[in-house]
């Protein structure tokens, strides 16, 4: 109960803060919408009179492929960056020490911030997704429960890497290689804008180590072809195994970073 109350107060704080920056919020959604619209029009242009056999496992629709890839990357950013960003934000506001003194474990504070970011991303993505579906008449056969399950599972999995990133940022204060390598590689080889089968074999081998590769594959199948759990069970099993590795490792790196910051007396430095 206490956990939920604390979560609620974080969400409330997020709403009050975000609504006080209305112009920023609206422009953010507009920018994202325009960015996705570009992909939409480009996909329309490329789709005209063409077929894409490599996209057949995902329904064959280029626009749906691109949009799901782009939207999903918003969630990757949430999982990867929200912990690190929340640490930096609390440091710059001078509130981090007081959050710790409130006797709420830091990992809980990070989860609250993460869920808050997830909610805002979902609002943004939801608005844009609905808008695009209406404009471009995208044909979808959605398995909603499975899609949500895959989305949340992949966020949990990538959150482990986000925790590592937050642990590193507590020491370096700015710039962490973990997040940079992960997001750059994910954008390049995990099938965000093109299927991984198009990649040269040596490059493709990197994609097998990245959770977004499996998440995108499973998510597209469940969102665009109505796939069942059994259709995507391999991807789900791999994501679970990856989560079992990333989460404990993330917690460990984060704890080390946190203690290092307490050791150097630099908790509030940024």
């Amino acid at each position: 109960m206490s956990f939920l109350k604390k979560l609620w107060i974080f969400i409330k704080r997020g709403f009050i803060t975000n609504f006080s920056y209305r112009t920023y919020a609206i422009l953010g959604i507009a920018s994202m919408l325009i960015g996705v619209l570009r992909f939409g029009f480009m996909a329309n242009f490329l789709q005209e009179g063409n077929t894409f056999p490599m996209l057949e496992p995902y329904g064959g629709d280029l626009m749906a492929f691109l949009i799901t890839g782009t939207m999903y990357m918003s969630y990757v950013s949430v999982a990867l960056d929200s912990f690190r960003n929340s640490i930096r934000s609390e440091q710059s506001m001078g509130t981090l020490e007081y959050l710790l003194m409130s006797n709420t474990p830091l990992w809980q504070l990070l989860i609250f911030n993460g869920i808050n970011s997830f909610i805002w991303t979902t609002i943004n993505v939801g608005v844009i997704f609905l808008f695009l579906v209406l404009i471009f008449d995208i044909q979808m056969t959605i398995n909603i429960i499975l899609s949500l399950f895959i989305l949340i599972l992949s966020i949990i999995c990538i959150s482990g890497i986000g925790l590592m990133s937050a642990g590193v940022i507590m020491v370096t204060k700015m710039g962490d290689p973990i997040s940079w390598i992960f997001s750059t590689l994910s954008g390049l080889v995990s099938g965000v804008l093109y299927p991984i089968s198009i990649l040269p074999a040596w490059l493709r081998s990197f994609s097998y180590f990245l959770p977004p590769t499996y998440a995108l594959s499973a998510l597209r199948k469940s969102l665009l072809t109505g796939a069942t759990f059994m259709d995507v069970k391999n991807e789900i099993i791999i994501l679970i195994i990856m989560s079992l590795l990333t989460i404990p490792l993330g917690l460990l790196v984060f704890r080390l970073g946190f203690n290092k910051a307490r050791e150097t007396g630099s908790l509030i430095e940024y």
């Binding site: 206490s2 109350k5 604390k6 609620w8 107060i9 409330k12 704080r13 009050i16 803060t17 006080s20 920056y21 710059s92 506001m93 001078g94 509130t95 020490e97 007081y98 959050l99 710790l100 003194m101 409130s102 006797n103 709420t104 474990p105 203690n259 307490r262 050791e263 150097t264 007396g265 908790l267 509030i268």
Partner: protein
């Protein structure tokens, strides 16, 4: 510095608490071998020049900085092993203005932190209203924090420290940079906490504040605790008392600096023709002789006062001697 310890009464205890920062391979001893024993219901005032290690000591006790070696306990909870219990026992207010959410108003900020403390909604509402009233912030409760003045920010920070009604309060310069009226209000609240048997450790540069609030004072310099004692005892260390005298007629130094008393006077200072002060080690040894001397010189004493040195003098004396 070692002190005798009364184990059943002490709320804060440190043993050889040391923090060494490494900056570019150079070791900086922020605090060194600090041994303190602060009793239940005591106001312990920490004095020290800038960079003496006051904030490091307070943050180490609060678990926000890990000690290099040594240990500390708050409410019998160890700062390394029971960090969550230590934090729950403490209400902290540091001197930083930036410690709230700028876009939230005063009430919302307290509601946010109060919820994290795990205070029940109904109790929290009552508690926030009580504290806003206590700190004269009720009219500003709907005002966004970014619109708060420095004094209001300080008060809100103290109100947050009081939210969960802890046993121990750690205040880092609670009245710095604020107007005298607000500062007095805050001092009154700190004294009222003591009356509720709360333990308070605070740092300040305001010697008047130290004099007013402290049960005991600790003087910290370059990370070392130079002295810990009651104000009266610290003043005695200086071996100095000032006798201020006002008589009905003009008087010269020669008239009182005569045999029998001369050697006991360290310093004579004339204030007016008929007013002077003398500095002695022990006023009791001088007072009778001085009165007799003045009478014999046909001077009628209008006022005579004995003053002990101020805490400021004590502080300066300790720090200067440490530099030597």
């Amino acid at each position: 510095m070692n002190e005798s310890v009364v184990f059943d009464m002490e709320t804060i205890k440190t043993r050889n608490l040391t923090k060494i920062f490494k900056v570019k391979k150079k070791e900086i001893r922020a605090i060194q071998d600090i041994n303190l024993s602060i009793q239940n219901g005591e106001i312990f005032v920490l004095l020290g020049p800038n960079g003496a290690g006051k904030t490091t000591l307070l943050k180490t006790i609060s678990t926000l900085i890990l000690p290099t070696y040594g240990d500390a306990w708050v409410n019998n909870y160890n700062i390394k092993k029971d960090e969550y219990k230590v934090r729950r026992s403490i209400g902290l207010s540091t001197g930083f203005e930036r410690s709230f959410y700028y876009r939230l108003n005063g009430y919302q900020n307290l509601e946010f932190f109060g919820t994290l403390y795990g205070i029940k909604s109904k109790d929290l509402k009552e508690r926030i209203n009580f504290l806003l009233n206590l700190f004269n912030l009720e009219d500003a409760k709907d005002l966004k924090y970014m619109k708060y003045s420095t004094g209001m920010k300080k008060k809100l920070s103290l109100a947050r420290a009081l939210l969960h009604d802890p046993d121990v309060y750690i205040f880092d310069e609670p009245t710095s940079s604020i107007d005298p009226i607000s500062a007095n209000e805050i001092r009154d609240i700190i004294l009222s906490l003591k009356n509720k048997n709360k333990t308070i450790i605070l740092s300040t540069h305001d010697m008047h504040e130290a004099e007013l609030l402290a049960d005991r004072i600790g003087i910290l310099n370059k990370g070392n605790m130079l002295a810990v004692d009651k104000k009266e005892n610290l003043k005695r260390v200086l071996n100095k008392e000032i006798i201020k005298v006002k008589v009905d007629k003009a008087i010269s130094e020669d008239l009182i600096s005569q045999d029998g008393i001369k050697e006991k006077i360290n310093l004579f200072r004339r204030i007016k023709d008929n007013e002077f002060e003398i500095e002695v080690e022990n006023s009791a040894e001088v007072l009778d002789q001085l009165i007799e001397k003045l009478k014999s010189q046909d001077r009628k004493i209008l006022t005579i006062n004995v003053e002990t040195p101020s805490i400021e003098e004590v502080f300066i004396n300790f720090v200067r001697n440490d530099k030597k």
